[in-house]
Amino acid sequence: MADPHPNGPKPVQITAGRIGLYTFLVVAALFFLLPLYTMVVTSLKSMDEIRLGEIFALPARLDFSAWMTAWSGACMGTVCVGIRSGFWNSVAITLPSVALSVFIGAVNGYALSLWRPRGANLLFGLLMAGGLIPYQIFLYPMVRAMANIDLYNSLAGIILVHVIFGLPLVTLLFRNYFVSVPEELCKAARVDGAGFWRIFFEIMLPIAVPMVVVVSMLQFTGIWNDFLLGLVFAGRDNLPMTVQLNNIVNTTMGERTYNVNMAATILTAIVPLAIYFLSGRWFVRGIAAGAVKG
């Protein structure tokens, strides 16, 4: 700026850096959106058009029939009711699983970080090791155990399984969060006469709300998207949406209708997606509130 006498606010300049920054963001956004775009576009095409193999091309004509089929017409075996039949199963599995695992995880994190009873470190170590084991290995013995306690092929059973497998992650996150809560808060409540549970429910849980949001969202996504555990443990009356999705998508020798597949996928993902779109702000806030620390 050649102004000989600067006065007032510095004039805003559009710098090369700014342009580069936006370019980077836009390119990144395209990269992230491309798969979703492709899915949506494909779901709106007819199979004839899809066979042409131009996956990025816009559909010649908007055709929502694949969506209808996916939702209420696609066959699984001899039953042709679409994936909607699994929707409520998914809800019935996911909500209690999330609520329970978040609750147990919160209690664990609270007890491990603020009370540190004997063996706390060992327990935490075991949980972390458990979190690293590929869970396919658990299937076989778990099935046996669940059958023994009569929970195999039941809603309660699949919920229990999700809670067990979610425990390591959920505990880790809550423990990290509660470690940053001042110990004095706990002490003050103890002077006030509150015990372990009272402190948890009346003081710690309300503080941990941002964390509960984060963990709930992570767990929700994980459990909603789960296929294998639902397939093995839920029983045929409780199969989640992902199993129906798999039935539509994953045929070996039958013909494939990609438009229906894509529509079914988007429909299956719509609940977690909606949650991220609507409460992404809370998610970020929760993380900022100390959800993930070293």
Binding site: M47, D48, I50, R51, L52, G53, C75, M76, G77, T78, V79, C80, L139, Y140, V143, R144, M146, A147, Y152, N153, F227, L228, L231, V232, R236, V243, N246, N247, I248, V249, N250, T251, T252, M253, G254, E255, R256, T257
Partner: protein, 387 residues
């Protein structure tokens, strides 16, 4: 109420498959059965679900599965109910090719109810692409075949619509092998694990042909689903596809007619057909009503009309030799003839253990994508599978 009730676990979820399954269901229900459907697509997922149900002591009444050693394992563990009496009453032995009858029996008892067979030695071709390349006749020998592929290439068409997944590749390997060693040679290798000079020579020639095919596939072949390959024929982007007869389903859905828009031929120089046979398995459930239903279901499956109707819907070949083949399409008729003549050899899944099947897939895939043309060394690896 003691209606025979049964839960059927199948991995038939696509349109054609479901329609075929429905044939059985309708007849079963007509005869007073109660049908409960549990479908899980994908072999891996279905296997996992089935095995875990057994582990949990909660086996389904019937499971759709391939005839072969996978089933044998369950039978030898005593987990399946025999259906000997049904087979005897229905005189299955007379109606089925001898080789099939042997395969569904263990220790002299019949355990599996065959639903239909798929021919796997098929070469489909796009008439439009053939026209474009100026090919007027189906090639009879591999030399002719490769000459035609060259023509296709010259015409700017992808010669072979290759499905680059291990199981698809293994099927191609087998159809070439059959064309090189003949029916007896094929059975010697797979059933008797024969390693004689002739077998090794045959394997080498097979591998050479397979290796040569690499030059005729497009860049996007790896990992391609078979139906995507079929789509390439439907849109005349590619000339030929090696696939089982289920590929007809894709053509049909796209409105293509066999013999008119596309053709089907048995692999060049081949005297017979590789087949894979589906069946129903009947796990022990400890439930009398289910046992009853299993017998009823076995009856239904082998009913001549059901066999034909089922084959029509599924695009497969009926198991019974004594049914009316006139309703079948031209490809299926060719298959049915070979079947009746017992000019058939089993898919590896029928004669090999699951571990060996896996190893065979690994071997073919390794050879195909490894890029080596050393057929001699590769043949040695091939026979190592059986050890």
């Amino acid at each position: 109420e003691d209606k025979p009730t049964i839960e059927i676990m199948s991995s038939w979820t696509s349109g054609g498959e479901a329609a075929a399954l429905n044939v059985i269901k309708t007849e079963f229900e007509k005869r007073g059965g109660v049908w409960k459907d549990s479908s899980i697509a994908g072999f891996g997922a279905a296997d996992a679900a089935f095995q875990n149900r057994i582990v949990a002591g909660d086996a389904p009444g019937a499971k759709q599965g391939v005839i072969g050693l996978a089933a044998a394992d369950f039978v030898s563990q005593g987990l399946f109910n025999p259906i000997d009496d049904v087979a005897a009453a229905g005189k299955w032995a007379d109606a089925l090719p001898k080789s099939i009858q042997d395969l569904i029996s263990y220790d002299g008892k019949v355990y599996l109810a065959p639903t239909g067979a798929h021919g796997e030695s098929w070469v489909f071709y796009s008439k439009e692409a053939f026209d474009k390349a100026g090919i007027s006749q189906e090639p009879k020998t591999w030399d002719e075949f490769f000459a035609d592929l060259d023509k296709l290439k010259a015409a700017g068409v992808v010669p072979v619509a290759w499905g680059g997944q291990p199981w698809q590749q293994t099927k191609v390997f087998n159809m070439i092998l059959l064309s090189q060693v003949g029916i007896d040679g094929f059975l010697k290798i797979y059933a008797d694990k024969d390693k004689s000079e002739a077998s090794v020579e045959g394997a080498k020639k097979t591998l050479a042909i397979l290796g040569k095919l690499r030059g005729y596939v497009d860049a996007g072949a790896a990992g391609r689903n078979w139906n995507d390959a079929t789509a390439m024929l439907i849109t005349a982007k590619a000339g030929v596809q090696f696939m089982g007869d289920w590929a007809k389903g894709e053509f049909t859905v796209a409105g293509k007619v066999p013999g008119k828009d596309y053709g089907c031929m048995i692999a060049p120089e081949s005297k017979g057909m590789v087949y894979i046979a589906d069946s129903l398995w009947f796990p022990k459930t400890g439930n009398a009503a289910t046992d009853k239903a299993q017998k009823l279901l076995a009856e239904v499956v082998m009913d001549p009309t059901v066999q034909v109707e089922f084959a029509l819907k599924k695009g497969s070949v009926p198991m019974r030799s004594d049914v009316d083949k006139s309703k079948l399409d031209t490809c299926a008729q060719k298959g049915a003839e070979l079947m009746s003549a017992d000019a058939i050899v089993p898919d590896q899944a029928i004669v090999l253990t699951p571990q060996q099947v896996g190893a065979l897939d690994d071997f073919v895939d390794e050879y195909w994508s490894g890029g080596s043309d050393d057929a001699g060394a590769a043949a040695k690896n091939f026979f190592a599978i059986f050890e």
